[in-house]
C-alpha cells in the first residue's frame, strides 16, 4: 500500500512550518510507511507521555524539538514527569536527576503543552469526548480514552506523541478507524459471586488477568454484574495495559461501544473464548503479590494518579488513626487533584494519619524511594506489576482498606475472606 500524503503533510516535510515540523513529520511518515498506512488523519488533542524522563536521551530529544522552535498545534496535556518539581528534596532523588528531569519538563512547557503532569488526563478538563480523534501516550490513559470514553487513539510510543501534537497528524491506522475497534476475544465471567465483584480489588485483578490473556488484542468482557465506577475502570485498564498491551477493551453493558456482546464484536465471531471463574481470578490476584511476608516498608497508592473520589474513599478508612512508624504511606497524584482534595478538607486527616503526597510523577518514574524500602504494599496492578523490575522491591497486593490496616498495624494484615483465601 502506498502512502498518500496531503498538501498539509508535504508542507510540513518541506519545512514550511519550520524545522521542528519537518523533523516531526519525517518521523511520522517513516512510521506510517513501516505500518503500511495509506494516509494520515487529523487529531484534535494529544497527551504527551514523552515527558517521562528516562535519562539524557529523552531530555535531549525534548530540548532538540523545543530548540527547533517546536510548538504543539493541538491542545496537549502532559503525562507524569521525572520529578516532583516542588517536593523532590524530601525524598532520595539525586540532584542531577532532578535538574535534568526539570529541564525536560521545561522543554515541553516551552512547546506549549498544558502542565497537567498526570497519568490520568481523562480526569482533567482535557478529557476528550466520544468519537474524538486524539493521539495519546501512556498505556493506561490510552486504554481509558478508547474504552471508557470511546475516543479514538492508537497506542502511541513516547517520542511519537509529541510529533503528532506538533503536526496535528497521525497515520490513519488501527484504532483510529471504526472497523478496527471490534472485539477479538471473549472473556466471560462465570459464577463469580457478587461479593467478589463488589470488592474494591475486583476490577484491578480482572484488568491484570485481561492483559495476560488478551495481550495486544481487544477483549470483550461479559457477565459483569456490578456498575464499575470510573476509578474501577481506570484500575482495570491500567492492569490490562501493564500485564498486556490492551489499548481497547469492551465491557458489555458498561462501556460505550458495547451495548451488547454482538455489537462489541461487530457481528464477528470471537476468535477465542475464556471462562473466568473465581479460581482463575483468585490465582491472578495471588500473582500480583510477590513477597507475602510479615513486613511492609511502604504503602504506595495512586497509580494511575489518585482521583478526588479516591481521596474521598480513603479518608474515612484512616480518619482518627495513625500509621505505624515503620510503614511509610504515600499517595501519588496530580497537583490539580491535590488542590481539589485540599479544598474539600481531605488533606488534614491524611496529614494526621502520617500520609505523604507526591505530585507530578510516581514511584516508577522518579528515583524517590530510599534503599530501605524493600517491600511495598499497593492496591494498584501497575505498581504491583512494575515495582519488582524497576524498583527491585517485593510487592504485596491488597485493597484500599487492607493498605490502611497494614500501615496502622505495621505488618501485613489483609482481609481476603471475600476471595475465599
Amino acid at each position: 500500500m502506498t502512502l498518500q500524503l496531503s498538501d498539509k503533510d508535504r508542507a510540513f516535510l518541506d519545512g514550511e512550518h519550520g524545522p521542528a515540523g519537518r523533523f516531526a513529520m519525517s518521523i511520522l511518515v517513516r512510521m506510517a510507511e513501516a505500518q503500511d498506512a495509506s494516509a494520515m488523519l487529523d487529531i484534535s488533542s494529544a497527551h504527551i507521555d514523552s515527558t517521562v524522563y528516562q535519562g539524557e536521551a529523552t531530555m535531549e530529544f525534548a530540548e532538540h524539538l523545543a530548540g527547533l522552535g517546536g510548538k504543539v498545534l493541538v491542545p496537549s496535556s502532559v503525562n507524569v514527569s521525572g520529578v516532583d518539581q516542588e517536593g523532590w528534596k524530601d525524598w532520595a532523588v539525586p540532584e542531577d536527576w532532578a535538574m535534568k528531569a526539570y529541564r525536560q519538563m521545561q522543554a515541553y512547557q516551552n512547546m506549549g503543552c498544558t502542565p497537567t503532569w498526570t497519568c490520568a488526563p481523562y480526569q482533567t478538563a482535557m478529557r476528550p469526548h466520544f468519537g474524538q480523534q486524539i493521539a495519546w501516550g501512556e498505556s493506561n490513559a490510552i486504554a481509558f480514552a478508547n474504552s471508557v470514553i470511546g475516543a479514538r487513539t492508537e497506542r502511541y510510543p513516547d517520542l511519537m506523541d509529541i510529533c503528532a501534537a506538533i503536526t496535528g497528524r497521525v497515520p490513519a491506522l488501527g484504532l483510529h478507524l471504526d472497523e478496527n475497534r471490534h472485539g477479538d476475544l471473549l472473556l466471560r465471567l462465570v459464577d463469580v459471586p457478587l461479593a467478589v465483584q463488589q470488592d474494591d480489588t475486583f476490577c484491578t485483578v480482572l484488568g491484570y488477568l485481561m492483559g495476560k490473556i488478551a495481550q495486544e488484542r481487544i477483549p470483550v468482557i461479559e457477565g459483569v454484574a456490578v456498575e464499575p465506577s470510573e476509578d474501577d475502570l481506570k484500575m482495570l485498564g491500567a492492569g490490562g495495559a501493564s500485564a498486556g498491551a490492551v489499548a481497547l477493551f469492551h465491557i458489555v453493558g458498561v462501556t460505550p461501544e458495547a451495548p451488547t456482546t454482538a455489537a462489541a464484536f461487530g457481528g464477528r465471531t470471537p476468535t477465542e473464548r475464556h471462562d473466568i471463574d473465581l479460581a482463575t481470578l483468585r490465582e491472578a490476584r495471588a500473582e500480583l503479590t510477590t513477597g507475602l511476608g510479615e513486613t511492609v516498608d511502604m504503602v504506595a497508592i495512586g497509580s494511575p494518579h489518585f482521583s478526588l473520589a479516591e481521596f474521598k474513599q480513603l479518608v474515612p478508612l484512616l480518619a482518627g488513626r495513625r500509621r505505624s512508624d515503620n510503614v511509610e504511606f504515600l499517595i501519588t497524584t496530580s497537583r490539580m487533584m491535590r488542590a481539589l482534595a485540599e479544598q474539600a478538607g481531605l488533606l488534614e486527616p491524611l496529614r494526621e494519619f502520617g500520609a505523604r503526597i507526591t505530585v507530578d510523577t510516581c514511584i516508577l518514574t522518579t528515583p524517590m524511594l530510599p534503599d530501605n524500602i524493600k517491600t511495598i504494599m499497593t492496591n494498584s496492578a501497575k505498581y504491583a506489576y512494575y515495582s519488582p523490575g524497576l524498583l527491585n522491591a517485593r510487592v504485596v497486593f491488597g485493597g484500599l482498606a487492607d493498605c490502611v490496616q497494614t500501615a496502622v498495624a505495621g505488618k501485613v494484615e489483609r482481609d481476603d475472606a471475600v476471595w475465599g483465601a
Partner: protein
C-alpha cells in the same frame, strides 16, 4: 529452520549484524523490563530475565505494556547498550519508532526486522543469527 538457511524479513529500520541471539516467544516491556544502563533484561517474570542483550540479536514477538518502551530503547542506544538488531513478529511500532528517532538524533542504528509467524518460529532457540541490510535473516547456529 536448518542452520545456514535464510528467510526474508522486512527491514523496517535497516541494520546489519552477525551476533549471538536471544530468543523468546514472550513479549517484553522495555520500561521495567530492560536496563538501559547495562542492556540486561530485568523483567523478573520474563524468560530472558538476567540475560544481557546489548549488541545481540534480540528475537521477540513484540514489546508490551508501557508507552515508555521507546524512550528506554532510545536511551539504551545513546549509551550503546541496545541490541544490534531486534527481530519481531510483525511490526512493533514502539521499537521501530525508537530506532527511527535514534537514527535521526544520534546517527546510530538498531536494525528492526519484522518476520512472519513461520519465520519467527524457525528462529526459536537460535544462538547466533546474521541479519542483512535488506532484511534477510540467516540462522547460523
Amino acid at each position: 529452520m536448518p542452520e545456514g538457511a535464510s528467510l526474508k524479513g522486512r527491514a523496517l529500520v535497516r541494520g546489519t549484524a552477525q551476533a549471538g541471539a536471544l530468543t523468546s516467544d514472550e513479549p517484553l516491556s522495555f520500561w521495567g523490563g530492560y536496563d538501559q544502563l547495562t542492556g540486561e533484561i530485568i523483567d523478573r517474570r520474563h524468560p530472558l530475565s538476567g540475560e544481557n542483550s546489548a549488541g545481540k540479536i534480540l528475537v521477540l514477538p513484540a514489546s508490551r505494556g508501557s508507552s515508555t518502551t521507546a524512550a528506554v530503547l532510545l536511551e539504551a542506544v545513546r549509551r550503546e547498550n541496545a541490541p544490534a538488531v531486534i527481530i519481531t513478529l510483525g511490526t512493533d511500532r514502539f521499537l521501530t519508532l525508537a530506532a527511527i528517532v535514534a537514527e535521526e538524533m544520534y546517527g546510530r542504528t538498531v536494525g528492526i526486522v519484522s518476520v512472519d509467524a513461520t519465520g519467527f518460529a524457525s528462529l526459536a532457540g537460535a544462538s547466533e543469527i546474521k541479519v542483512d541490510d535488506d532484511g534477510t535473516v540467516t540462522r547460523i547456529d
